[in-house]
Each structure stands twice: as structure tokens, then as C-alpha cells.
């Protein structure tokens, strides 16, 4: 295994932006500390990428880092577009919404995207789906104020009916009926994964859908090739491949969800292409309140075959 693929290490973007967990205020990041992390993992690729980041007196330059993060997120949106992530999310989300309606819940449903970045998924749904027909409200949240400002700017530029908030999506200050995320859940590991899922157990929350890379033997190779061709920044190339190496397998996700959020029936959706053994690039950790399971299975119809053991 290459050192850059060691799943025990964090991604570069996990380290170059830090926040105070209480106030969410941006904290200064010492470049040397980030370099030491990758030096420990003998990850020369990450080391070189961080070495090139601009600094002022040893502290990473916030402005430059923000510019870099925007560049990376613009590139990542391209990846989401090539994988039709908006279509994929809605293809499952619409069945969840329909199941909730069939179960007799008529109120406006708040759908919250956790760690939305520049909000591609939420904006895609807002641009392509008549929200009034489904009586849904779309919100994206992220800890990064720059990304949220960009998401808001983009939404207003296209007059999209969705909003973006800077803050902790899982805090009980923000009620939500359906939680979703794309490419986020692998950032939570060990106890942090359990804690992340435990926070889903809020009275109003009816379902969660976490889309992420599906790990398999060839995934890092495929990811490396794809990122080399499609991504332009060293950080996007590095973190994209590491994400594929760090992705949680189905068992880790379902066991963590069942242990931390017992109020939900949990399973993996869409792991295989059609009914072949070929894995999809993304799979989805799906959780729904137990009482919604029969309606969801009815709503999914033949697509219920894509769902592995919802319990």
C-alpha cells in the first residue's frame, strides 16, 4: 500500500481548516503541525502539497486557504456532476419522502444536508424538483463559513428555493426531518462515527441518507486514475484518493448505525450495479424510523432489491 493511501491518516482538508467547537470561530493553523502529521505517515505527496500552501509567520494564510478550498469544491462539484449525484440522491430521497407521506405525515419536511460544502446536492434538488409538490424545504449546513457564503451566493444567483446556514447541522438547535450527506461520513471514524450517528436520534428526525464512496480493492486505483484526469489541484487529487481508501464498508456503517441510532432501521442501499456483483462507486447508509419501513418498501417497489437488510 502507498503511504498516501493509509486510511489511518486524516485528509489534508481535515487539517488545514480548524474551528473552535463551541463558537465555530476559525482557529489559526500552524503549517508545521500539519506537515508533522503527514511526515509521521511518511506521506510525501501530502507533505509536498501542504509545503506549497502560503503561510504568514508559520500560520496558514486564511485567505489563500479559502481560495484553495473554493477551487477544490468547484472541482469536486464536477465529480458530483459526472457521477450524477443529484439524480442518485433524489432517486432514493423521493421514495423516502413518499413513504413519510403515505405514513400520514403531512407537515412541511425539512431536509438538511450535513457538511454540504458549496451545496451542490441541495442546489441540484432545488433546481430540478418542484419542491411545492412534495412540500419539502431544503437546507444545507457546513462548519466552513466561506463555503456556506459561496453556496448562498450560488443559490441566489440562480434564484433557487433553498437556504444555507453556517453551523453544526447535528445540534438540536436545528430541527430536521431528513438528514442527508454526500461524501462526508468517512470523515467520522471510530467513536466519532458512533457519536455522529447517535446525534441522529432526535425526535423530529424520520430518516437519514448518507451517500459515500464504497470501498473495494480497486477503488483507490480507480479513484487515483479518475482524480489524476479530472482534478487539477494537488489537494483535491490527494484527498479524493484517500477518501476512497478511508471509505467505510457496509458492515462498519450498519453496525455503527444500529448501535448508535436504534430508533432507526438501517441498511445499505445501491451497493451493486443492477443485480450484478459489480460494485457502484457510491453506496448509501439508509436509516428510517421502524414504523416507516413497510411504506418505504412498498414505495421502492422493484428497487427494494437494491436494499440490503433494512433492520
Amino acid at each position: 500500500m502507498f503511504p498516501a493511501w493509509n486510511p489511518s491518516q486524516p485528509e489534508i482538508t481535515d487539517l488545514i481548516v480548524q474551528y473552535d467547537s463551541g463558537t465555530l470561530r476559525r482557529l489559526p493553523v500552524r503549517k508545521q503541525q500539519v506537515l508533522e502529521v503527514f511526515s509521521r505517515f511518511r506521506n510525501r505527496r501530502a507533505f509536498r502539497a501542504v509545503q506549497h500552501l502560503p503561510e504568514k509567520a508559520g500560520i496558514l494564510d486564511d485567505r489563500e486557504i479559502d481560495a484553495l478550498l473554493l477551487t477544490v469544491h468547484w472541482e469536486m462539484q464536477r465529480l458530483a456532476e459526472e457521477f450524477y449525484l443529484g439524480d442518485r440522491v433524489w432517486a432514493l430521497l423521493r421514495h423516502v419522502v413518499a413513504a413519510v407521506r403515505k405514513a400520514g405525515i403531512r407537515e412541511n419536511l425539512r431536509i438538511l444536508d450535513v457538511g454540504c460544502g458549496i451545496g451542490h446536492t441541495i442546489r441540484w434538488i432545488a433546481a430540478n424538483i418542484p419542491l411545492a409538490d412534495h412540500n419539502i424545504e431544503l437546507i444545507g449546513m457546513d462548519l466552513n463559513a466561506t463555503l456556506i457564503a459561496e453556496a448562498s451566493r450560488l443559490a441566489s444567483a440562480e434564484r433557487l428555493p433553498c437556504q444555507f446556514l453556517h453551523g453544526d447541522a447535528l445540534s438540536d438547535k436545528h430541527s430536521k426531518h431528513i438528514l442527508l450527506s454526500t461524501g462526508v461520513i468517512h470523515h467520522f471514524r471510530g467513536n466519532a462515527l458512533l457519536e455522529f450517528l447517535r446525534q441522529h436520534e432526535q425526535p423530529a428526525t424520520l430518516s437519514f441518507l448518507h451517500f459515500d464512496f464504497q470501498p473495494w480493492r480497486l477503488a483507490p486505483f480507480g479513484s487515483m486514475f479518475f482524480h489524476y484526469l479530472r482534478m487539477r489541484t494537488a489537494i483535491a487529487r490527494h484527498d479524493g484518493v484517500l477518501s476512497a481508501a478511508r471509505a467505510h464498508d457496509a458492515r462498519t456503517l450498519t453496525e455503527a448505525a444500529r448501535a448508535s441510532a436504534p430508533g432507526f432501521a438501517c441498511g445499505i442501499y445501491g451497493a451493486r450495479i443492477w443485480r450484478t456483483p459489480a460494485p457502484r462507486v457510491f453506496h448509501t447508509l439508509l436509516g428510517v424510523r421502524h414504523e416507516l419501513v413497510p411504506e418505504l418498501l412498498r414505495e421502492l417497489g422493484s428497487r427494494a432489491a437494491r436494499l440490503e437488510e433494512l433492520r
Binding site: 481560495a67 468547484w74 459526472e82 457564503a149 479530472r230 487539477r232 457502484r280
Partner: protein
Amino acid sequence: MTLLALYLLALLDGLLCGLRASMGRCPLIRKRGYYARALFRGIAGSEVASILALGALFVVGVLSGHRDVLRADLESSAGRMLQVFLPYAALVLINLALRLLPSTDIRSATSVFMLGPLTAIRPLVMIAGVLYGISRSSLIETWLLGLFILVLMLSLEFVLNRLASRAQVRQIRQRI
């Protein structure tokens, strides 16, 4: 006819170069206008390259002391180039057509398994096509023209990328 086919292939290549250079640089959801402008820039770039190639062809033709021999040699070289470029272009077009199918899996697969690798080998195909085309020629003019066209083809995506990158950096600076 051979020259026309090469010109059309250059246009198609320019179009796709323009598209690729623009991808990942606009985070809007609805961006038909953005991509239309990118395609236009690609076509404009390939037109400039074609005019330069035509200019070079004209100059070489005027200066050559054996114009008829040169013409026949260039035509046969261009014909050989097409033997490499046409199958490549056909593969690209077939995969673009497959993206019209209403399946996210098929559309993603064309991107990962075909269009990505085809993009990766584009410079090699360009080099192979031109070298195969001129390899049987004994005329120095044909070799020079072939290599000049190769440089133009390889420069096109690089230049378009540079221009798109500068525009992106300016836009991002305005946001921060």
C-alpha cells in the same frame, strides 16, 4: 476530401478541448450558457490552429520546387493520419451518444471507463497519428508540416486550460 475530414476532426477536437478546459470551473447548476461559451472558445481555438496550419501549408507550397509531388505526398500522409484519428473520434462519439441513455450508471460508466481514458491517451493518439501519417514520406516539407500541426494540436488544450484557469482565479479572488 481528406483535408476536409481532418479539418472536421480538428473542429470536433477543439470543441471537446474547450468543454474539458471549462469543466470544474463553474459551480452553477444550470450552465448551458457557460458550456456553450466554452464550446465556442474551443471552436475558435481550433479555427486559429487550422488557419495557422493552412498558412503553413500555403507557404510550403509556394516555396516548394516540386509542388505536385508534395501535394500527392501530403494527401497520402493525411490519409494515413485519418486511419488513426477516425477510430479514436468514433470511440469518443459513441461514448458521448451512450450518455443520452437514461441510466446514471451507464452515463457514469462512460465517463470513468471510456471518456476518462480516452482523454488520457489523447496526446499519444495525436503523436501516433501524425507520426504514422508522415512516417512513409521522404519529403522534409511533409515532416515539417506534420510536426508543426502536431505542436498546434497539443498546444490547443494547454492554451484553453491556461485561459480558463486565469478566469477562474480572477473569479475566486473576487469571492474571498
